[in-house]
C-alpha cells in the first residue's frame, strides 16, 4: 500500500539547510546585537522615560553627604564631647538604600558611647544606617572624652574621613510613573502650532526638493561642456557638513551689518531695509485687497531644506532617466510629439516610480530632521517643529520626561505615515 508511493522529497529542514541557517544567523548576529542595543532598546527606553518624572539633573546619581565635627569644649583630661556626623541625602527626589558608614576614630579620644546602629571594632566605627529617603538628614553622635595625648596634640576629627557604602536609587528604573509628561505636551499652548509647522515644513520641503531635483536632473541630462563639474557642484550641498552650510546661511542671511544677502538686495534696490530672514515670524502680504500672514522664517528654513536635499532627488531621477532607452523618444519624435509632450507622456510616467519612492523616503526623513532647523533658528520665530521641541523640552527646559513624551508623539506620527506609505507604495521599484 504505502510502499507503492513514489519516493517523496524530504520534508522539513535537512542537515545541510540547517547548517546554512545557523551560518546565516551567525553572520547576522553582530548586526542584530548592535541594532538591538543602540536602536531598538533606546526606542523602548524612550517610551519608558516618557512616563517618568525625570529631569536632566536627576541623571546625576544621588549621594550621601556628611559633615563631621567635634562638638563641645575640651580643655582638661576627661572632658566629654560629641563627635557629630551630620549626614544627608543629596537628592530631593531620589531615595538611597542600605547606607553603611565606616570611620576611624582618633586614638587619642576615649569612646564612651556610640549610636545604637553602630558597632565599634577597635578604633573602627561601623554604622548600618538603613535607608535614606529623598532629602532626609540626621545627626549621628559618638560620645567621647579627651585624654592627655589629645590635649597635647589636638587633631581634627575630620582628618579621617568617613567612608560610605550605599545603594542609590536609579531614577530611570524605579517604579515612579506619571502621565504628567503627556499632559504637558498636549495641554501646552504650543502643541498645535508646532505640529502644524512640522507638517508644513515636511510637505513643502519634500515636494520642493523633489521638484527642484527633477528640474536639475533635466538640466544634467543635457550634454554640454562642464557638465561633470556642475554635477559635482550641485551635489555639494548634500555632501558638506550640515553645520558648515547652515552657519554659512546664517551669516549670509544676517539682518545686521555684514549680512551679505540683505546688503545685496538693498544694493539692487529690491528692498529698502534689512529683512530678518531667520528671525521674523510673519510678514503681512497684501494682495488684491486681501492680506495674508506669510511665515518668513519657516519659509526660509524650508528653502534651506530644498537647497540641501534637491541633489539627492537629482541623483536618483538622473540615474533613472539615463536608463530609459532612447528608442521611445526617437519613435515619439517621428510621430511629431513636441518636447513637452515627450516629457509629459514618456519621461514622467517612467519617473513616477522613483519619484514615489523618493517622496516617501524624503517625507519621513524631512519629518525626522532636527539639525537643520536647530542650527538655523534654534526653533525661534515659528520654526519650532516636533523634533526641535524634543530637544527644547529635554535639554533646554531640562525636563527629560517631557522631551521623551514629545519623541513618542514623533515616533507615533511617523509610524502612521509609514503604514500609510507602505500600504500604497509600489511593490518593486528603486
Amino acid at each position: 500500500m504505502s510502499d507503492d508511493r513514489p519516493p517523496q522529497p524530504p520534508k522539513g529542514i535537512g542537515p545541510l539547510a540547517k547548517r546554512e541557517m545557523r551560518f546565516a544567523y551567525m553572520m547576522l548576529l553582530p548586526t542584530f546585537a548592535i541594532v538591538l542595543s543602540v536602536v531598538l532598546f533606546p526606542l523602548f527606553a524612550n517610551v519608558w522615560i516618557s512616563f517618568k518624572p525625570v529631569t536632566l539633573g536627576d541623571l546625576r546619581a544621588p549621594s550621601i553627604l556628611v559633615n563631621e565635627r567635634l562638638m563641645g569644649d575640651v580643655e582638661a583630661v576627661g572632658d566629654e564631647a560629641d563627635i557629630r556626623y551630620r549626614i544627608r541625602n543629596s537628592s530631593r527626589q531620589s531615595d538611597i538604600a542600605a547606607v553603611f558608614m565606616t570611620d576611624e576614630l582618633p586614638a587619642t579620644l576615649d569612646i564612651l558611647n556610640v549610636d545604637e546602629r553602630c558597632t565599634l571594632d577597635g578604633r573602627v566605627l561601623d554604622c548600618d544606617l538603613g535607608d535614606y529617603e529623598a532629602g532626609k538628614r540626621e545627626d549621628l553622635i559618638v560620645r567621647v572624652s579627651a585624654t592627655q595625648a589629645f590635649l597635647d596634640a589636638p587633631i581634627n576629627v575630620k582628618d579621617t574621613e568617613a567612608a560610605f557604602e550605599f545603594d542609590p536609587e536609579n531614577v530611570l528604573i524605579n517604579d515612579d510613573f506619571t502621565l504628567d509628561n503627556f499632559r504637558k505636551v498636549f495641554n501646552g499652548s504650543d502643541f498645535w502650532p508646532v505640529l502644524w509647522a512640522s507638517l508644513y515644513y515636511t510637505i513643502a520641503g519634500t515636494i520642493g526638493a523633489l521638484v527642484m531635483g527633477l528640474f536639475a536632473a533635466q538640466l544634467m541630462n543635457m550634454t554640454f561642456r562642464g557638465r561633470g563639474f556642475l554635477r559635482g557642484l550641485y551635489l555639494s550641498p548634500y555632501v558638506a557638513p550640515v553645520i558648515a552650510v547652515a552657519l554659512a546661511w546664517v551669516l549670509l542671511l544676517d539682518p545686521g551689518p555684514g549680512g551679505t544677502l540683505n546688503a545685496l538686495l538693498i544694493q539692487l534696490g529690491v528692498i529698502y531695509g534689512p529683512i530678518n530672514f531667520l528671525g521674523q515670524r510673519v510678514a503681512e502680504i497684501r494682495f488684491l485687497g486681501l492680506s495674508f500672514d506669510f511665515p518668513v522664517a519657516l519659509t526660509v528654513v524650508i528653502i534651506f531644506e530644498i537647497w540641501r536635499y534637491f541633489p539627492l532627488a537629482m541623483l536618483f531621477i538622473l540615474a533613472r532617466m539615463q536608463s530609459v532607452s532612447t528608442d521611445v523618444y526617437e519613435a515619439a519624435e517621428i510621430d511629431g510629439a513636441t518636447p513637452l509632450q515627450q516629457f509629459r507622456f514618456i519621461s514622467l510616467p517612467q519617473l513616477a516610480g522613483i519619484m514615489a519612492v523618493l517622496f516617501l523616503l524624503r517625507f519621513i526623513w524631512t519629518f525626522n530632521k532636527f539639525d537643520d532647523i536647530f542650527l538655523l533658528t534654534g526653533g525661534a520665530a515659528g520654526t519650532r517643529t516636533l523634533t526641535v521641541n524634543v530637544y527644547e523640552q529635554a535639554f533646554a527646559v531640562s525636563n527629560l520626561g517631557a522631551g521623551a513624551a514629545v519623541a513618542v508623539v514623533v515616533f507615533l506620527i511617523l509610524l502612521v505615515f509609514s503604514v500609510i506609505f507602505f500600504k500604497f507604495s509600489p511593490e518593486d521599484d528603486a
Binding site: 553572520m27 548592535i34 557638513p241 551679505t260 514623533v410 515616533f411 509609514s418
Partner: protein, 410 residues
C-alpha cells in the same frame, strides 16, 4: 509666410531677459571682486539685449556668422552705454575704467552667446508649436543652469570669502569680497592659522577622522557578513529582513538621543569618543547592509557555486570570490558611511563636553558665539567641508553608482 514670425519675437524677449540677467550678474561680480559699489543697470541691459537679439536673430540661421555676432555684440555695448547714461555698471566710467571695459565686454560676449545658443538653428520666421517649445525650453534650461549654479555656489562662495577677511572689513562693506594679496599669505590665512594654533582644530580634525574611520571599519565588518547572509543564504526570515532592514534607518535620531543620553550618562560613556563609535555604526549598518545585499545579489551565484564545487569552504568562497567582486560596492559604502560620520552633528553636540574630545562639528558649534569673530567661524566651516567634499568629488562616480544600484538613502 512673413519674414518675421513668432520665433523672432520670442528671440527678442529672451534677448532682453538674457541682457538683464547678464548685466546684473556681471555687475554684481564686479562689485564682489572690486568692492566698488556698482549698481546693475537692469533696464539698459534688457534694452541692449533686445537690440542685440534683433540684430542676430533677425538673420537666417545660416547667415549668423562670426561677423554678425560681433556686430550684435557691438550693438549691445553701444545700447548699454547710451541707455545707462555712459555708466554701464552704474558708476562713472572713470572709476576702474579698464575693469569696467572688461566687464562690459564679458557681458556682451555672454549675452550674444546665450542668444545664439537659444536661437540656434531657428530662423526669424513663423514656426509651429514644436520649435516654439524648443526655443522656450532652451531659455528655461539655460536660465535654470544659471539659477541653480548661483543658488548652490553662493553660500560656499560666501563661506570661503568671509574666512579670508576680518570682522571690521566684513561689517563695513559686506559686499566687498576682494582679496588683498599684498598683505601676504600669512595674513590672508590668519583665521585658519589661529584656528589651528589657538582653537585646537588640529585635535578636532584628528578626532573627526578617527571617529569616521572607525565607524567605516566597524560598519563594513558588521554589514558585509550580514548582507551576504541576507542576499545568498536561505533561512527563515530572510525575505522579511531584506525588506525591513531599511526601516531601522527611518527611526529619527532625535528619538534615540534622550534615552542614549540618559543611559550613556549613567554608564559614564557619554563624554567619550567610544560612545560615538558605538552609536554611529549602529545607525549606518542597516543602510550599508541594504546597499551591499543589493550588490551581492547582482553577483552571479554560479561563480560561488563553482568555488564550492572546487572544494572551497563557504568562508573561503566569500573571502576569495565574493568580496573581491564586491570591492567597488564596498568602497562606495565606505565613502558614504564616512560622509555620514564626518558630518554628524546631533550626537557629537549632545555627547561631547570635553574640548579634547570635540569632533569638527562639535568644535564649530562652539565657535558659534558672539565672542568669536565671523571669519573664524567660516574658516572652521571650510576646514570641515574641504576633506569630505574633496573625497566625495574624487570618488563621485563610484559613489553614485553604488548608491543608486543598492537603493535609496537621504
Amino acid at each position: 509666410m512673413s519674414r518675421f514670425g513668432n520665433i523672432f519675437y520670442l528671440c527678442l524677449l529672451f534677448g532682453a531677459l538674457w541682457g538683464a540677467i547678464a548685466t546684473t550678474l556681471i555687475t554684481l561680480l564686479a562689485l564682489f571682486i572690486s568692492g566698488e559699489l556698482f549698481q546693475p543697470q537692469v533696464t539698459a541691459g534688457a534694452l541692449a539685449g533686445l537690440v542685440a537679439a534683433g540684430v542676430l536673430a533677425g538673420m537666417a540661421p545660416e547667415k549668423r556668422t562670426l561677423g554678425i555676432r560681433a556686430l550684435s555684440a557691438i550693438a549691445f555695448v553701444l545700447v548699454l552705454t547710451v541707455a545707462s547714461g555712459a555708466e554701464p555698471l552704474g558708476l562713472p566710467i572713470s572709476t576702474f575704467s579698464f575693469g569696467q571695459l572688461i566687464a562690459v565686454v564679458v557681458t556682451a560676449w555672454l549675452v550674444i552667446y546665450a542668444i545664439h545658443a537659444t536661437a540656434f538653428g531657428l530662423g526669424p520666421n513663423r514656426e509651429g508649436r514644436y520649435n516654439v517649445e524648443v526655443i522656450c525650453l532652451r531659455f528655461i534650461k539655460g536660465f535654470g543652469l544659471v539659477a541653480f549654479t548661483i543658488a548652490v555656489a553662493l553660500p560656499f562662495f560666501v563661506m570661503v570669502m568671509m574666512s579670508l577677511k576680518n570682522q571690521q572689513m566684513l561689517l563695513s562693506n559686506p559686499l566687498d569680497f576682494s582679496i588683498n594679496f599684498e598683505q601676504g599669505f600669512k595674513a590672508l590665512l590668519r583665521s585658519y592659522i589661529e584656528l589651528f594654533t589657538q582653537y585646537h582644530f588640529g585635535s578636532y580634525l584628528m578626532n573627526s577622522a578617527l571617529v569616521s574611520v572607525i565607524t567605516v571599519l566597524v560598519t563594513l565588518f558588521f554589514a558585509v557578513p550580514g548582507a551576504y547572509a541576507v542576499a545568498r543564504l536561505k533561512f527563515p526570515g530572510q525575505h522579511f529582513l531584506s525588506r525591513s532592514i531599511l526601516l531601522i534607518y527611518m527611526v529619527p535620531m532625535i528619538v534615540l538621543v534622550i534615552p542614549l543620553y540618559a543611559i550613556f550618562s549613567q554608564l559614564g560613556m557619554r563624554n567619550t569618543l567610544w560612545g560615538l563609535m558605538l552609536v554611529y555604526p549602529a545607525t549606518t549598518i542597516p543602510v550599508a547592509l541594504y546597499m551591499l545585499q543589493g550588490y551581492f545579489r547582482g553577483i552571479p551565484a554560479e561563480l560561488e557555486e563553482a568555488g564550492l564545487m572546487d572544494g572551497l569552504s563557504r568562508l573561503n568562497v566569500i573571502r576569495k570570490i565574493t568580496l573581491p567582486l564586491a570591492l567597488p560596492a564596498m568602497a562606495s559604502v565606505a565613502l558614504y558611511v564616512f560622509m555620514i560620520a564626518w558630518n554628524e552633528f546631533l550626537f557629537a553636540f549632545m555627547f561631547l563636553d570635553n574640548v579634547d574630545l570635540y569632533t569638527l562639528s562639535r568644535g564649530i558649534a562652539e565657535l558659534n558665539s558672539s565672542e568669536v569673530p565671523r571669519q573664524h567661524l567660516m574658516a572652521g566651516a571650510v576646514i570641515a567641508t574641504v576633506p569630505v567634499l574633496a573625497l566625495f568629488l574624487w570618488f563621485e562616480r563610484f559613489l553614485v553608482a553604488g548608491l543608486t544600484a543598492g537603493s535609496v538613502k537621504g
